[in-house]
């Protein structure tokens, strides 16, 4: 219980002091295909935006779903090297959902930004 409390407090202090919470760019490497990962891009104030994009590169043993919240699923399979993008003008947050779907193994390098 004591250890749990200490871990909790450390996590809280790290999370709450996270200066990257307003971010319009992320790069992650996905190797854990056991659970969904959700991440949000938040536009900077007073910055002009024209588009959003997501680059996915790597290899997986089956299919994954990548989805921009409220938009259609994008299903990617096997050996992947793709770029998806669209118009974006800085009015809203963009929430990305990375769903392992049928994939259980592999490595994906995902870069997404505004």
């Amino acid at each position: 219980m004591k250890n749990l409390t200490i871990i909790f407090l450390i996590s809280v202090s790290i999370l709450s002091c996270d200066k990257t919470k307003r971010t319009d760019f992320k790069k992650i490497i996905l190797t854990d295909f056991t659970k969904k990962k959700i991440d949000t891009l938040i536009p900077h104030k007073n910055k002009t935006y024209y588009s959003y994009y997501i680059k996915v590169k790597g290899e997986i043993n089956d299919s994954v779903k990548i989805k921009r919240k409220d938009h259609y699923d994008i299903i990617l399979i096997g050996n992947i090297d793709t770029l998806i993008n669209g118009d974006y003008y800085g009015n809203e947050k963009i929430i990305w959902v990375f769903d392992p779907f049928k994939a259980t193994k592999g490595e994906l390098e995902i870069e997404y930004g505004l």
Partner: protein
């Protein structure tokens, strides 16, 4: 007992942790609250429909501007050097702040307004405030708020000035009807809004007024002239006809600048620079001369200097685009903002759009990109809260297409804009966005002759089409705001 103490201690630590979490995450919120501070009342964002039903003012544009024309002949001194034409501003109705002024429930409504003068000063903000006077009549006031450039000061505005009130004449305009002695009453305002950042509506709660009068001599005012509204260096001829070779001169100037850049880079002497100017190898060195010749020929500028294109080339908005294009050609390096934008924009072109784009001359390619960039900036400036499926989106598409017709011709402009929409759907109702974009694109293309249509700029022409409801935007957006994804209820509705 020990267990109890341990348990209480754990709960205490957890409680402390949770409080620490909330406290540490409140930076943005605290800042926002300060920004919205208003003595005696808090702002409340309301819709245009609410404003209309409360005030019975159906057309805010007409209401705010009619008094200006009657009382001041349409003009108001901004400062000692320049003048604004008060009828020439746009009222942003996307964000309306309502304030409850007192216990009796008296209200004021404040709007952000934009003067459609390309010579505007970025630090200047204008608010239009609608509130009732002592006779229970709705009145309009315009306030000029100048942002503080002193970083050591806590005050967001260095000065706040009421420049217009519909019930009286502002001090700077009194006596303009003639010369001689007159009783001039000046209002001295004390503002209690220090530290607010634009949310304060400058209503009677935070402004107290002292009136002082004195006899002063007023000189005959100088005759107003349209040219004073534009950049003198730009030599705009608003008189109809009489367009000169300004376009060619302007492009020649840009060519000279380009040669100067090359000469500087190569360390050429003055004689060598002159030689380069006269030499046909200039086009190889810069890639500009042929493009300009082709451009002029393609668009018949030289043979038709009085046409819409000739005039638009003389407007600051297109001058800026032409400069960006020429600079990009001359620079031709990756740090140029247009070249950077090109990489971004090209990656999201549809296949068909890309095919057309690749077949265009370099000058036209960069012109097309600069138009898109300019349209984005302009819509951000005028409609920051409705850029997706709202009025800002409608403006962007119409403005972008009008610029494209002017610079590329009707056929190419239509092909490119239509091809741009040729994208696979990204969500269930994205087809509604496409319908909206195609509609506004088409209206925008019909607005390229803004000068012969009687407007002082392309921006004014497109804004007029918004006011008249010629453009369309989507209703019932996700989240209920003026910007967002389309929903199953969304319909294309006129912009007025």
């Amino acid at each position: 007992m020990q267990n109890k103490i341990y348990k209480s201690l754990t709960i205490g630590i957890l409680f402390f942790g949770i409080m620490a979490f909330f406290n540490a995450c409140q930076d943005d919120e605290i800042q926002q609250n300060n920004q919205q501070e208003h003595i005696g009342a808090n702002p409340n964002q309301v819709s245009l429909d609410f404003f209309k039903s409360t005030t019975k003012i159906q057309n805010i544009d007409t209401f705010a501007k009619q008094g200006l024309n009657q009382t001041q002949n349409g003009y108001l001194a901004r400062n000692s050097n320049t003048a604004y034409e008060l009828s020439d501003f746009y009222i942003d109705t996307d964000v309306i702040n309502q304030y409850i002024l007192n216990d009796q429930g008296d209200l004021s409504f404040s709007f952000k307004i934009h003067f459609l003068d390309d010579n505007y000063i970025p630090e200047e903000n204008y608010n239009l405030v609608i509130q009732k006077d002592i006779n229970d009549q709705w009145t309009a006031s315009i306030y000029l708020l100048i942002e503080n450039t002193d970083t050591n000061s806590d005050d967001y505005f260095s000065s706040i000035e009421r420049i217009y009130h519909s019930n009286d004449l502002p001090a700077g305009v009194l006596g303009r009807s003639g010369s001689g002695f007159t009783l001039m009453c000046g209002d001295t305002y004390t503002f209690n809004c220090q530290g607010c950042t634009g949310a304060c509506d400058l209503c009677s709660i935070c402004v107290s007024v002292t009136v002082t009068c004195e006899m002063i001599y007023i000189s005959e005012p100088e005759e107003h002239n349209n040219n004073s509204l534009t950049d003198p260096s730009f030599n705009y001829n608003g008189g109809g006809g009489g367009g000169s070779s300004n376009t060619a001169d302007y492009l020649d100037d840009l060519k000279d600048e380009c040669i100067a850049d090359i000469a500087s880079e190569l360390g050429l002497s003055a004689e060598e620079t002159d030689c380069l100017s006269d030499n046909s190898s200039f086009s190889e060195a810069c890639g500009l001369s042929n493009d300009i010749s082709n451009y002029l020929a393609d668009n018949q500028i030289s043979s038709n200097p009085n046409g819409g294109l000739g005039f638009l080339m003389n407007s600051p908005e297109t001058e800026e685009i032409a400069t960006a294009v020429v600079n990009a050609i001359c620079d031709n390096n990756e740090s140029n903002s247009l070249i950077l934008f090109e990489q971004d924009y090209k990656s999201r072109m549809s296949v068909s759009e890309k095919q057309i784009f690749e077949s265009m001359s370099r000058f036209n390619q960069l012109g097309y990109l600069a138009n898109a960039q300019k349209a984005t900036w302009k819509s951000e400036e005028l409609f920051p809260n409705s850029l997706r499926n709202g009025k800002g989106d409608a403006f962007r598409h119409a403005y972008w297409n009008a610029l494209n017709v002017i610079l590329l011709g009707d056929n190419l402009a239509e092909s490119l804009a239509t091809a741009h929409e040729d994208q696979p759907p990204t969500y269930t109702y994205s087809y509604k966005e496409t319908q909206m974009d195609l509609f506004n694109n088409e209206v925008g293309r019909s607005k390229h002759s803004w000068f012969s249509d009687g407007f002082s700029s392309l921006t004014n022409s497109i804004l007029n089409s918004i006011t008249n409801g010629e453009l369309r935007y989507l209703s019932h957006l996700q989240g209920g705001g003026s910007s967002g994804l389309a929903t199953y209820q969304s319909q294309l509705i006129p912009t007025n």
